[in-house]
Structures are given as structure tokens and as C-alpha cells.
Symmetry: C2
Subunit: 272 residues, 2 copies
């Protein structure tokens, strides 16, 4: 029978918890893994709690009762994300990001695993207590941050397609009007990918007038899903009146002046 030292047990436990955010671990799991008594395992959890708190790694939630245990929440306060948020905001203001036509180049940021992880964690933060069943995004650019948000919430990701793909079976399609360009578009989701009456969070990388998110909401209705939250990485200040209300964004694009090469980006109030 293996006997482990405290620092071995504690560091292994923290790694397992951290690799599996929002996943409930019964204390027995660790008692069996390390051959410890319940009292020792409880002490170990206390220590992990204090380490997580000291270093701002998130938090541990204890669920009591027979089916209880502990789970790790990667983001506890926004404090530790402040310098990250500032850095990303500054990077987003780099005028070389302006793409002819008035678009903003962001894929170098949102396709970077480290950045996508933190963006996803930030987007998960307001929805941690909402009993989310699925994170839903629409292809393509929002997928990495949506996946990392789903990882933080420990739920599967669902990707809405812009055209129905034969390889995913029967699907539900809707048409929607893109808010800013007033074009008719369609999106579709495979029937079997989303259980009826699920609670979903909608995630996207960019929102202007909100037409795409509104389309996603309509599609969710077809599945009798309840949208418990909407999060986008960047929303634009204009138009002020969006097609949807009740969303969170991390950054607000106040101004983009293509001709003079000026981007003004702000951090959303709730992140400050």
C-alpha cells in the first residue's frame, strides 16, 4: 500500500481538481487514491482551500450530504484577471488590427489557447451559479473562447452551423436578419445535439447590433431551451439599441476610425 506525503497528496489533489473545473469529487475518491482516513482527507482539503485562496487560483466549493464532495471553480474574483484584461484591451486598440471595411482583426488573440482559456473563464464567471447544461456558440471565430467557457463550467459545447451539414443528421434551421448588415442568413443545429428543456449560455466573440445572438435565441426556442445567459467578448458601443438586452461583454468597442487608424476600446464596468 502506497503512503503519500502531505505535499504529494495536496499537490496531486489540486492538479486533479484544477484540470477538471466544476466537477464534483467525493472525498472517498481521494481517500482511496491516497489511502488516507477521512480526517486526513478533510485536512488536505482545508490546505488546498488555503493555497487556492493565497494564490488567487479560484475557489473550492463544498457540497454536503451523501452525494456531496468538493469541486473547483477556476474563477472566484476578477481581481487576478485585471492585468490580463488590461493587456488584452490595450492589444485590441493596436491600429494594425483594422481590416479594410471596418473590421477588427482578433484571431491572433482568441485562437491563442492561453488567452482563450482566460477569456472563457471570464465569460463563465457571471453564469457559475446558473446550473448551465450547455454552452452554445455559432461557427467559427467564437468556438475557442466558447469551448474554454464550457470547460470552466464543465458542460459540453454546442456549435451552431451556418449551413446544415449532412454529417450531423436531421437538423433545425432558422433564418435570421443580421442586425448590422440587414442580410438574411440561416443557421442550423442538429436535432440530437441539444436535449429539450436545457439551460444554455450563448457565447460569441463579437456583437454589433445583436442579430446573430437573436438568431441563436430563436433557434434555442425551437429546442425549448432556456437561455440563462449571453456573453460576448467584444460588443460595440454603436448602435446603442441592440436587438437583444441582458448580455455581458468583456470589452466595448467605442470607436473605430478606419481612415485615421484609431481604435478605442473600453473594459466593461463589471470587470473593473
Amino acid at each position: 500500500m502506497n503512503v503519500y506525503k502531505r505535499y504529494e497528496r495536496v499537490s496531486a489533489m489540486l492538479k486533479i481538481l484544477s484540470d477538471n473545473p466544476n466537477t464534483l469529487y467525493n472525498l472517498n475518491y481521494f481517500m482511496n487514491m491516497f489511502n488516507t482516513a477521512k480526517s486526513t482527507a478533510s485536512e488536505d482539503v482545508e490546505i488546498i482551500n488555503s493555497v487556492i485562496e493565497k494564490f488567487g487560483f479560484g475557489k473550492i466549493i463544498t457540497v454536503s450530504g451523501a452525494g456531496g464532495g468538493i469541486k473547483y471553480i477556476p474563477i472566484n474574483s476578477l481581481y487576478n484577471y485585471r492585468s490580463f484584461v488590461k493587456e488584452v484591451c490595450k492589444s485590441l486598440e493596436d491600429k494594425s488590427r483594422i481590416i479594410p471595411g471596418g473590421f477588427l482583426y482578433t484571431t491572433d488573440l482568441i485562437y491563442s489557447p492561453n488567452i482563450a482559456t482566460k477569456i472563457g473563464e471570464l465569460l463563465s464567471f457571471p453564469f457559475q451559479e446558473k446550473s448551465v447544461d450547455f454552452v452554445v456558440t455559432v461557427e467559427t471565430k467564437g468556438i475557442p473562447i466558447a469551448l474554454m467557457c464550457a470547460r470552466a463550467l464543465n458542460v459540453p459545447l454546442i456549435i451552431i452551423r451556418k449551413d446544415s451539414k449532412v454529417t450531423e443528421g436531421s437538423s433545425v434551421s432558422i433564418n435570421y436578419v443580421s442586425g448590422s448588415q440587414k442580410q438574411i442568413r440561416s443557421m442550423s443545429l442538429s436535432r440530437r445535439s441539444l436535449k429539450r428543456y436545457s439551460k444554455v449560455v450563448l457565447i460569441d466573440d463579437f456583437m454589433k447590433a445583436g442579430g446573430t445572438i437573436k438568431g441563436m435565441m430563436e433557434l434555442m426556442e425551437e429546442f425549448d431551451a432556456e437561455v440563462v445567459g449571453i456573453g460576448v467578448m467584444i460588443s460595440t458601443a454603436m448602435p446603442m439599441v441592440k436587438l437583444i438586452s441582458d448580455y455581458i461583454s468583456l470589452f466595448i468597442l467605442k470607436e473605430m476610425d478606419e481612415y485615421n487608424g484609431i481604435i478605442k476600446m473600453e473594459i466593461s464596468d463589471w470587470l473593473k
Copy 2:
């Protein structure tokens, strides 16, 4: 000045290393964080090494010299992935995955963050030592596993689009012939997303004849990129002769009999 106990230092270090795979940390970083002498920090690293080894968490690589340090590799041996690989293989043989037209439904697996993480780590394994600059995939279904592969290798992800999107600036497009369906298709990649002379790994979820991967390779040529590895989650046994050679896959689809509801999936030899 804060003084930390060994179990606090060691568990915090392991969490930081584990959250940032393949990222080089100079010992000074931890010495400053924990206010320790070099000898103590070195001992802590030794302990982390032993914990990682005991629990099969991967490995620590020590890079010597002035610019040296330690980095964490999430996958060291395939041993710890065996039960996972068997479970996924079994799940892939579930006949309810057969989609009319002879397609295989896999998005419930590959869009699940936990599973995508492990698949991505497995796909990174053969390319750990190849000095990879970017992981490249083509939208849409392969994105989650490609992102997690990029995370394991600590490199950015690049997503090739199936039509050129105005929002990413000037792009390079190619036409290619889908290997199994003999249709002309196109894919494109924004000029600025991939630096010339980069070393890339191509990742996709599914490969039949290899037409898509071949298209990706041609597109990489346009960027003077060197393809140092190709990895797919599932390849098909038929056609035996593919349009590309020199790829790795995790699973091989030996047979799918739509009418009798039979799927035969095998684990690739290198994973056994």
C-alpha cells in the same frame, strides 16, 4: 514577506506549470513568488517531478543554461490514456452514431471539453519534440481538438476557413478536390495569420481519402510553411490508399454498415 510551507509552494507550482503546458519557467520566477533560495526551489522542483511521475501526470523537462528553466509536458506516456482511449473507442462503436448517408455522429464527444482535452493531448504526443509553431485545422468540427492540441504544445491555433471571410483581411485561397466525394471545394487563410517558414501540425477530426488534408498541405505551401506532422482523430480503413501518407490517427474506422447498424472501430497500433 510571505513565507510559504513546502506543500503550499509545491502545489502552487504544480498548478501553474500544469495550467501552462510547454511553457518555460525560469527558476527565478518561483524563487521570487515564494521568497525562496535557489536550493529550496530546486528541491521543490525535484518533489514536483516525483509527484508527476508517481501519479502519471506527464513530465517536467529541465532546460539548462542562462535562458533555461522548467516546463511541464502534459503527456509523457500513453499508459495513463489507455482506459480513456478504450472508452472512446467503445463509445464510437455505438450504432446510434450512424447518420443516414453513412456518416458518423461524433460531436457529443469532440465538443466535450474533457474529452477534447485528452484527444488534443494524445494528438500532440508524437509532435512534442518537433518545435511546432502553430497547430492548423480547417473549420468546423476539428476546432475543439485542435485547440486542445495547440494548448498542449503551447502554440497558437490557426483555423482555415471554407470560404474567405471579409473580416480577416486579405487571404490566400486554394481549390482542392475532396478525396472521397470528388467535389471541388475551396479553403482560405488570412495572410497575416500565419508567418512564413513556420512549422505546423495539421489536425482534423476525420479523414477518409485525405483530400481535405491534402488541400491544407497545398495551402501551407503558399505560406512556405513546413508541415512537421499530421494528426487526425479518426481515419477510415478504406480507401487503403490515401492521398497523403505519413499521418497519425487515434482510431481507425474499419467498417460502418448503415443498414445492419454495425460500426467497427479500432485503436491505432501506436496507442496500444
